[in-house]
């Protein structure tokens, strides 16, 4: 904890669902005190997705992953006194992060100008689907429509078939990480100049930044890249091949002639592998349909782990297509401590994953909070309210 970089930085999180909360969790990993503002009036839907049937019904695993290490207090911002309390909190905070639609904070009287009035160097980081400016800023967005708008889905699918949804919606966690980059950049800038600002991060633009090949293919040559499934622009074999067992697969990527020869040796140099059309990279790429069937004919007799280990021993990029339980049980992932079992006061045993890096600078944080778990800390300790005041505000459904 001593080492955590953002120790002493207080962040108000007006966040829900995924992109905003995951951003908060990562900033909490870095040592920031992240205070999530919630309300019973409109719960973060991740609290109630896949409702586990706990007594309060306000905890589930998705929420626990994305709100790891943050604090929770309840404020019903539809009530003007709640907005005033939030401003009091802003006065003693460094950053406000939000992934609410761009109209929400201004509608509550909490636009950047209002926050700046109470805290002149405050940083506001907003994470809307399409940005807080421009003609389509108020279009309704979800992770799925964001990735569609950014150009991901049109390029995603099996060769010769229609586009598919990612199902995982990476546009959200990509937005989260851009949000972290934006927050830290603004904090660094404030450290140098003493100035805060409102940084706006458009999630759909974030998606476009991670598929530049597809965009530039059009800009440079006027072409729309076809959907390629597992195929590469030049490598072959390059795919997921069936292995022993139900729905078991292994991914193999052969990039060079040397790797191809090593691959043939592992397979025991079958007769077909000696064909001239497979002897060079361009030939393998041109004949990949046939090649893929032949490779699948070899992999199907082995488990995916056998294929991975044998090929990796020969210096070939190969890996098991892991599903979630296989991933959790995988020896490497276990050794790396990626998934962490936690005891949640409401949700019981829960499983979360950490951010994708190991660092001596990572803070040790508690599990995701119960709704309003830190009300006393925020209202009494930080804002100096009395028991009676807090009880009165709760009665009026301001603290709610």
């Amino acid at each position: 904890m001593v080492n955590a970089p953002l120790k002493g930085v207080r962040i108000i999180a007006l966040t829900w669902v995924w992109a905003g909360p995951w951003m908060g969790a990562v900033l909490a990993d870095m040592g920031a005190e992240v205070i999530k503002i919630e309300t019973l009036q409109r719960l973060d839907i991740q609290r109630v997705f896949l409702h586990k049937g706990t007594e309060l019904g306000m905890n589930n695993n998705q929420f626990n992953v994305t709100n790891r290490g943050v604090k929770s207090c309840t404020l019903n911002l539809k009530q003007p006194p709640a907005v005033e309390i939030l401003k009091q909190l802003a006065r003693i905070s460094d950053v406000v992060i939000t992934n609410f639609a761009p109209r929400v904070l201004p509608g509550l009287g909490l636009d950047y100008a209002a926050l700046k009035e109470v805290k002149p160097d405050i940083i506001l980081v907003s994470l809307p689907g399409f940005g807080s400016s421009g003609p389509d800023k108020d279009y309704v967005s979800y992770a799925s429509t964001i990735e569609a708008a950014g150009g991901l889905n049109a390029a995603f699918g099996y060769p010769g078939e229609g586009p598919v949804l990612s199902g995982t919606y990476p546009g959200d966690p990509i937005g989260s990480m851009y949000g972290v980059v934006a927050t830290l950049t603004a904090l660094n800038y404030r450290q140098r100049t003493g100035r805060g600002q409102h940084v706006d991060v458009a999630q759909s633009e974030g998606v476009t930044t991670v598929i530049p090949e597809i965009i530039m293919e059009y800009v440079m040559n006027g072409r729309i890249r076809p959907r390629l499934g597992n195929r590469d622009e030049i490598m072959a074999p390059h795919g997921a091949y069936p292995c022993r067992g139900a729905d078991q697969w292994v991914a193999i990527a052969i990039g060079t002639d040397r790797q191809w020869r090593a691959f043939c040796r592992v397979m025991g140099n079958p007769e077909w592998s000696k064909a001239d059309r497979f002897s060079d990279q361009v030939g393998r790429w041109q004949n990949q349909d046939e090649l893929n069937k032949l490779v699948a004919g070899w992999t199907k007799d082995y488990t995916n782990y056998e294929v991975m280990h044998r090929l990796q021993k020969a210096g070939i990029a190969a890996g098991v297509c892991l599903n979630v339980p296989q991933l959790i049980a995988d020896p490497h992932i276990k050794k790396r401590g990626v998934f962490i079992e936690q005891n949640h006061p409401e949700g019981g045993k829960t499983i979360v994953y950490r951010a994708p890096w190991k660092s001596a600078l990572t803070a040790t944080n508690p599990p995701a909070p119960c709704l309003g778990e830190h009300n006393d800390y925020v209202f009494k300790t930080l804002l100096g309210m009395s028991d009676r005041e807090v009880a009165g505000l709760a009665e009026k459904k301001i603290i709610y």
């Binding site: 955590a4 970089p5 953002l6 003609p135 309704v140 979800y142 799925s144 429509t145 569609a148 708008a149 889905n153 390029a155 949804l165 199902g167 995982t168 990480m177 851009y178 980059v181 830290l184 950049t185 660094n188 800038y189 140098r192 100049t193 600002q197 940084v199 458009a202 999630q203 633009e205 476009t208 930044t209 991670v210 598929i211 090949e213 965009i215 530039m216 059009y218 800009v219 890249r225 597992n230 795919g239 091949y241 729905d247 697969w249 991914a251 210096g315 070939i316 990029a317 890996g319 098991v320 599903n323 979630v324 339980p325 991933l327 020896p331 994953y353 950490r354 994708p356 890096w357 001596a360």
Partner: protein
């Protein structure tokens, strides 16, 4: 640079392809001085990676995108002289970003311990397929392999044969997401470096970066013991990608009123009274009946028409945008997302920019990516005190 936020920060990039160059690009776009080290001869393999303007294989659009705003030098740290020069460069570096195999860095005498010995305040961001520890740390990775080993290949939603192989996302999306995550981690460490003047080692795993997308799939497994795999039957409808006159649209209605607005747009408000389509569950049950009715209308209209009409009425429909439509998007255009880059080898083209706006930080036109070794003289003579004559010797010795 786009923004002069980090213009007092010096970064050394020693890596290739996607993750490390993208991480360093994010820092360069925020104003950091990035010196990109490439091997003498052919340089970073992305120099030879599609797309190229009018298919003339020089001036890769991907290389340009990834390396704009950087200085480029050539250096072979495997030579004794090269190693000494690398150490000199490190003495001036706040950050070292690299994505080499851990055993390669060890061979080169560039472990974190060694780096720390040369410059204790350097932040070393190491991005590798499986991280610096664990049984797979020396395994070969690639976009295909990390994607499937990160568990996302099974999770796309589609209507085709669910027994087909799991597939990867388009282009190098997961490697880029890893680079982005690495930039977030690095900026966290930088905040501490400014305060405490201390370096640190960040062990970033591309596989773990993929895992961060699995939020909902992990919850499904943990609570419902379901393995989310290639869903073809959805529990709610419509939540599908549907073809239209000139492309595809995506229905993403999470609330009933959104569906009602959509059927109003279609000119069928009476469907609201239909027993078969009364809610999302019923519509999923009778999807086979509903789908042709929707198609009858969507096939008559364009992506833009359906998208605009629906969104203007508050129905959160998604446009499945192809690259040409992304480039032409009025929202991104208004926000100035696509940008011209300084003098380019390949025409005067616009590239995807950065997804954030920092109103307080001065903005500049980004500089083009360097030619191979373009800044050798500036860096070696200008910074390290070599004479121009020495550069000839270094070149002859294969060092630069």
């Amino acid at each position: 640079m786009f923004y002069q936020a980090l213009d007092d920060i010096k970064v050394l990039e020693y890596g290739n392809l996607f993750s490390a160059p993208f991480c360093a690009k994010i820092l360069a776009d925020l104003g950091a001085e990035v010196i990109k080290i490439e091997p003498p001869g052919c340089g970073d393999p992305t120099r030879a990676t599609e797309p190229f303007l009018k298919d003339a294989p020089e001036g890769s659009g991907l290389f340009q995108y990834l390396n704009m705003n950087k200085l480029g030098i050539t250096l072979d740290p495997a030579t004794a002289t090269g190693r000494k020069i690398f150490a000199e460069l490190l003495k001036h570096a706040d950050i070292l970003v690299e994505n080499n195999p851990p055993r390669r860095m060890k061979e080169l005498g560039l472990t974190y311990r060694a780096v720390h010995g040369i410059n204790p305040r350097t932040i070393m961001a190491s991005i590798t397929p499986f991280g610096q520890t664990g049984p797979y740390k020396d395994y070969e990775g690639s976009e295909l392999v990390i994607t499937h080993m990160g568990g996302v290949g099974f999770i796309s939603t589609r209507e085709s044969d669910i027994n087909k192989e799991p597939i990867k996302y388009p282009a190098h999306l997961m490697s880029f997401q890893a680079g982005l995550s690495a930039a977030a981690a690095t900026l966290g460490a930088l905040y501490r470096q400014r305060v405490a003047n201390l370096g640190s080692h960040l062990d970033i795993s591309e596989q773990e970066s993929v895992i961060q997308n699995l939020n909902s799939a992990v919850a499904h497994y943990w609570y419902l013991h379901q393995i989310v795999a290639r869903t073809d039957v959805l529990s709610i409808a419509p939540a599908h990608i549907l073809p239209c006159k000139d492309g595809y649209i995506y229905n993403a209605f999470s609330e009933e009123h959104q569906w009602r607005r959509f059927i109003e747009v279609m000119g069928h408000p009476d469907w609201a009274d239909s027993e078969l389509f009364k809610d999302a569950t019923a519509r999923a049950l009778y999807w086979d009946a509903l789908k042709p009715l929707l198609l009858e209308w969507t096939m008559e209209h364009t992506v833009e028409e359906i998208y605009r009409w629906s969104q203007e009425r508050g129905a959160p429909l998604g446009a499945v945008r192809t690259a040409d439509q992304v480039v032409a998007d009025r929202q991104m255009a208004t926000r100035g997302f696509f940008v011209a880059v300084g003098k380019q080898t390949a025409g005067n083209l616009k590239y995807p920019g950065v997804p954030y706006t920092f109103p307080e930080i001065p903005r500049e036109t980004p500089a083009a990516a360097p030619a191979l070794g373009e800044h050798n003289a500036a860096v070696y003579c200008g910074r390290l005190g070599f004479a121009r004559r020495d550069l000839v010797k270094l070149k002859e010795a294969g060092v630069i």
